[in-house]
Subunit: 410 residues, 2 copies
């Protein structure tokens, strides 16, 4: 008998269809968390999931749980999923693939008439990306009780609303639920790698052993607004010049920290941001990542001291606010081994690897056996409209997900 396989073309066309919501001119899409586009993406996901026989539950963080009932629904669910929200200039796969791979697994099981002992769940986590509001992976943080629901509801979005208001407005504000009342037996997240390693190593499947640690800080540099035409250069307290010195110093600081270090200043806002005014304030965010906690601790100390020194030298004010911190995560050894074994059994090349990016799976790992399945993306490009993955690789990852879930669901 032929081995059961997901439908490669259906999985691909599902991505194409979802990518039409918030479509961008260069082939990417933009569905910022809890925007109108995000709502449309969510609505579409729910329709597809219901058509695939799922029951839908929405929690107070806006997380969507699409449940395919099992023969014994008292068993904890074997769960998969990821996120549908995107970066501003995103591709069609980051997060989305994990959700649509889960859907394709359900459709494939339906087509084959397969029922499982344990129920299966496909979960859409709210705001993995942290564009309109903080922190990243907020939905899975709430579910795993690492973030209070009240704190999330009060968080301000870049549009001046609160997350609570947005959830209400979009019709995605459900009851608060956690692992205590909603049992999950394990969590397996499929995702594009978002890095160049699988492509370089010519492997189809990454069995992800863990996630590097990440910390984010918000730095505010304050000087004085003044007139561009009349204020002599030596009398200025120019926050932008001061902040640019800090940015370059941060880049120099990590230059000798080896291959695993990542330091990014992705958000950088100047105030009042007017052409003829010496800028009185700059706020920027530092995203620092490394697999080792000791390295992160040492760098954080050096960054705090170094920025304070730079501000002092320039006569500028400085505040540094913690935005979030993710400890390095180790995934469940047995689940990683199962992913590896299922990849081999399905005839795919596979390698163990670490995730450079944070994922919702990192939050789940503290409470249940968790692992991730990576598939290659072209040149490692992600958070970019040029993000690409092949139909064959996406199907390969979904097949490994299918068999890994079946191995756990009985």
């Amino acid at each position: 008998m032929e081995k059961l396989r997901v439908n490669e073309q259906r999985l691909w066309l599902t991505h194409v269809e979802m990518g039409k919501i918030g479509a961008l001119p260069n082939g990417g899409c933009c569905r910022l968390a809890l925007s109108d586009e995000d709502k449309m993406g969510r609505d579409l996901f729910i329709r597809w999931s219901r058509e695939a026989g799922c029951e839908i539950r929405i929690d107070a963080a806006g997380n969507i749980f699409a449940r395919r009932p099992g023969l014994d629904n008292s068993l904890p669910a074997v769960a998969t999923g990821s996120h549908l929200d995107t970066q501003p200039h995103a591709g069609l796969y980051d997060g989305i693939y994990g959700v649509l791979a889960g859907l394709e697994v359900f459709r494939t099981l339906n087509d084959a008439g397969i029922e499982t002992q344990a129920p299966l769940e496909n979960i859409v986590w709210t705001n993995e990306e942290c564009v309109r509001f903080s922190p990243p992976t907020s939905g899975s943080m709430v579910f795993t009780e690492q973030l209070g629901i009240a704190e999330l509801h009060q968080a301000k979005t870049t549009d001046g609303t609160t997350v609570g208001q947005d959830l209400q407005r979009l019709g995605y504000l459900g009851d608060h639920i956690t692992m205590a009342s909603h049992k999950i037996g394990c969590f397996i997240e499929a995702h594009i790698e978002q890095g160049p390693i699988l492509e370089q190593q010519n492997k189809t499947i990454g069995a992800v052993t863990g996630i590097q640690g990440a910390r984010m800080f918000e730095v505010r540099v304050t000087g004085q607004d003044n007139h561009a035409g009349t204020t002599p250069m030596p009398l200025r307290r120019d926050a932008l010049t001061g902040a640019t010195r800090m940015v370059l110093w941060l880049n120099e600081l990590v230059a000798d920290q080896g291959d695993d270090i990542r330091l990014t200043i992705g958000r950088f806002n100047v105030s009042p941001n007017s052409a003829s005014t010496v800028p009185g304030a700059v706020t920027f965010q530092i995203d620092l990542r490394h697999p080792q906690m000791t390295v992160l601790n040492a760098l954080e100390d050096r960054i705090r001291m170094g920025l304070a020194e730079k501000a002092r030298q320039a006569g500028l004010g400085l505040t540094i606010k913690d935005i979030c911190a993710f400890a390095p995560v180790a995934f469940d050894g047995a689940l990683v081994a199962m992913i590896e074994a299922q990849a081999v059994a399905s005839g795919y090349s596979v390698m163990r690897m670490l995730s450079g990016a944070a994922h919702d799976a990192g939050n789940l790992a503290a409470l249940v056996p968790t692992a991730m399945i990576f598939v290659p993306c072209e040149k490692g490009i992600s958070h970019n409209e040029a993000e690409r993955a092949t139909p064959g690789d996406l199907a390969a990852g979904a097949n490994v997900l299918l068999y890994t879930m079946l191995s756990r669901a009985g």
Copy 2:
């Protein structure tokens, strides 16, 4: 008989009243050109001017001409005025003072029952500040035919509207008029200095002899959006790091150019401006000023070459767009001398000086005898909520304006 004087308290309270529109928490105000607040300020100005017996005319650029008729209205008007639009974190005086001083002159003449041979005009020019749209001093540029009215109407605002749409929406879109059909005999603009010189020299009145030259360029630096967690540092094409190198190089470049040089990067925008994405693009604006054309020319050449070199070294794309250029301006010698004489006759200390900031008067100077009257502002602080001027200094400037206008209007 006592010498005619403006009403110091009335002038002061008029500033206080205008400052309530778009009031900010720290005592300043924000009335961006063609915003709802700007409309409210304009409406109030028109009401006050009508109450002072003025006829109102509005042109296609939204400029407001408040005319106090003379005994012989075939004579060209003796004109004053400035602007009511502000920077985002502005004080109560920059621009506003020139308009309200003109109004106070009219009120003072009314109180004394004085009629002039020539008509007087008090003009509110549109968008001196260049915050919501370019170029700066756009209203006076259109009136003096240095900017086409169609070009202004098509200009995009930072809110995504066009200037034409905004004028229409606010009810400030009149017929296109220029000096050819609307005759002005001279233009005298009162303004706070926006620099520290009068205060340092302990003078009340500055008789402004001209304006330094200014050029603005928009620089766009392009790299590649990518994921903050997965993209190794050496493989990044980070537009923000590249742009910060440029900003620091520009500051170094002008460090040995003497006291008269001004280089400001006031507007600086990062794209996609998301914490977990390596920025793929930065757009920033350079505001370069100096009293000598030769220095501006030499620096512009060095800037173009230097930035191209920096971009090449970093593997980044670069475009440089001209935003505007103002040649150094020399004001009318006879008018400057008259301002000086009237200051002395009124008992005020006076000095000749150059303007560090661009002003609408700079555009008028090409067509009619033009000059400016400066009064001190505290510590030279401007484009800032902490901008301050004293009631006595504001009245002194208005008295000099009164007598200079009378000397020309007969």
